[in-house]
């Protein structure tokens, strides 16, 4: 390990460039690999059974979202922005609508009720994302029972999300000026027992992670990133909080109504993968308690759900941030007075976390690599096509976006099914 830390992302496809001189073997993972659901190319340089240095190539899923946004209106972009990520779509939409509201000068007009519904969506998303992650982590460490148990329980929160928004993964509740749908009283009543049930289940998951020796041994003292290193490499979100950096955007720079809720940010000083896991499990619990508070507040909170906002946004620039499930999500927008953005920049949290994760691998055993790689919750969004399989004949057909859109428009026009 060199004394002065340098950033990764330097590999060529064969791993020759800038390879560490003392390594004697290299392992390639990706760009397509059964282990990883997302396309990234990891190159791991080994000396015997130990990792000397790991590197990565990214960019297999560049969709040009920022450029695409410049060609669309602010209002159309409300539905394009959540596509930045497959699983944490609500948080991208939230950051976006807050930015546009600020530029349009209506940020103080958003009602309390609308803000509470937004927060409900954001926290529900954090819960299902975290449960998904530690389920897969259990699978990677060879403890498949917990994968099945946690994913079974995850369905509870997915049902809640579906109930309030109509969609399982992409709730798309937020609009410029408020929210699309209300959470009526009967849904609040329906949701409460589900949340209580899930709290019990997540407490049980936590017990397994902390008390079950076979999984604890796989995670404890593995892939340590100290606080000093973390300050240098600057990961964000749970990846940093596992190393004792106590910053959570919800607390450090509050948005929506997070400063009115009673909750505490979670951080652990150990810096190993177990600390990261506990950060996420405790955060899940904390979010569940937050959901209960939000539901209590929703009983009495009033206000219009959607404000009128003009389509043309006045000239200006602004930056907004939010705590996504994976870390700090930042958007920067610039308007030129028309109805389209002049420039829009999105930085999703995973890009900032890759470097720190690769640093964790230095000197570790090759057997620990999958667990460490999983630790930052890899997310390179990959939802750009669908595959249709005919149930009876087994015939497969890949359909790209344009064709799918055409069919959808036709189906809407003639009021019939898409397929």
């Amino acid at each position: 390990m060199a004394e002065i830390y340098r950033s990764r992302f330097r590999a060529d496809p064969y791993g020759d460039k800038d390879a560490p001189p003392d390594s004697d073997y290299r392992i390639f993972i990706g760009p397509q690999h059964p282990w990883a659901e997302e396309p990234a190319h990891f190159i791991i340089h080994l000396k015997g059974e130990r990792v000397v240095e790991a590197d990565i190539r990214i960019g297999f899923n560049l969709r040009g979202l920022e450029k695409a946004m410049e060609a669309r209106t602010w209002r159309q972009n409300t539905l394009l922005v959540p596509r930045a990520c497959g699983i944490c779509s609500a948080v991208h939409q939230n950051v976006y609508v807050r930015l546009v509201e600020r530029l349009a000068g209506v940020e103080n007009d958003i009602s309390e009720r609308a803000r509470l519904i937004r927060m409900f969506s954001l926290e529900a998303e954090r819960i299902h994302s975290h449960i998904l992650w530690y389920g897969i982590l259990a699978h990677d460490s060879g403890f498949d029972t917990l994968l099945h148990i946690s994913w079974r329980d995850r369905e509870t929160i997915m049902d809640i999300v579906e109930d309030i928004s109509g969609n399982r993964v992409n709730p798309a509740l937020m609009m410029i000026g408020g929210v699309k749908r209300d959470i009526p009283k009967e849904k609040i009543e329906r949701t409460r027992p589900k949340i209580d049930h899930l709290i019990k289940q997540v407490e049980y998951h936590r017990k397994v992670f902390t008390e079950e020796a076979s999984i604890r041994n796989r995670l404890e003292n593995v892939g340590i990133l100290t606080k000093e290193e973390a300050k240098k490499i600057t990961p964000n979100g749970p990846t940093a909080r596992g190393s004792g950096i106590p910053f959570d955007v919800r607390k450090s720079y509050p948005y929506e109504l997070y400063d009115e809720l009673d909750w505490k940010p979670i951080y652990y000083p150990e810096g190993d993968v177990l600390a990261l896991t506990l950060v996420r499990i405790d955060e899940t619990l904390e979010s569940l308690y937050m959901l209960k508070q939000i539901l209590d507040k929703l009983e009495t909170a009033e206000g219009e759900l959607l404000q009128r906002v003009k389509t043309k946004v006045p000239k200006g620039q602004y930056m907004t941030r939010a705590e996504a499930p994976r870390g700090e999500d930042i958007h920067f927008g610039m308007s030129n007075g028309s109805d389209k953005p002049e420039r829009y920049k999105i930085r999703a949290p995973s890009l900032g976390n890759i470097d720190a994760t690769l640093k964790r691998m230095d000197g570790e055993y090759i057997a620990d690599v999958p667990v460490i790689l999983r630790s930052y919750d890899p997310c390179f969004s990959c939802t750009n096509r669908i595959m249709i399989i005919n149930k009876t004949t087994g015939e497969k057909k890949v359909m790209f976006q344009d064709e799918f859109a055409k069919r959808a428009i036709k189906a809407k026009k003639y009021n019939r099914a898409i397929f």
């Binding site: 960019g59 060609a71 470097d355």
Partner: protein, 172 residues
């Protein structure tokens, strides 16, 4: 006024000749500093070494059509006791539009290295003294002279280039 507030938060002196303008964004504390490209390194050094700012969230590239390029460093000033952050956006102005170069900050902030490479990909702004100024995120067969985020390329142009690349690969 905003200078005074910022100095109070950072608890370090910022030489006035370095900055063009400091704006305090309304609402929660959130500052924007405008600095000329030739003085940007000195300012960032002061912010990192004297004020103790270590967190760089990201770097944004920006084109002001027919005028200049800009690079924005989104920094966070962190106070561990109160667990509060003060965002500071350092906007580097006056980058030449015909031959865009800007000094690298990768030796000050480690993560600037790959964020700067992303801007090099998208805008073609060359960062001087950068240890590894190569393509980060664009495909390997992407034409060298096309900088997709520049205003001279419309969304339609980019779509055509992408399709022609895909066609070329499938023909090979």
């Amino acid at each position: 006024m905003s200078m005074k507030e910022l100095v109070e938060i950072l608890q370090t002196e910022i030489p006035e000749k370095l900055v063009d303008e400091i704006e305090r964004v309304e609402g929660a504390p959130h500052f924007t500093i405008y600095v000329k490209v030739d003085k940007s390194r000195d300012l960032m050094k002061i912010l990192h070494d004297n004020a103790g700012i270590y967190h760089l969230t990201t770097v944004t590239g920006l084109e002001i059509p027919d005028k200049e390029f800009r690079v924005i460093y989104h920094l966070q000033h962190r106070d561990e006791e109160t667990e509060k952050e003060v965002p500071i956006n350092v906007i580097i102005t006056g980058i030449d539009i015909n031959k865009p170069t800007s000094p690298t900050m990768s030796d000050i902030f480690v993560c600037a290295e790959y964020y700067e490479r992303e801007i090099y990909d998208f805008y073609g702004i060359y960062f001087e003294n950068h240890p590894f100024m190569e393509r980060l995120i664009l495909p390997e067969n992407w034409p060298d002279d096309v900088r997709p985020m520049r205003k001279e390329y419309s969304w339609q142009d980019i779509k055509e280039i992408t399709l022609s690349l895909a066609k070329k690969i499938s023909e090979d």
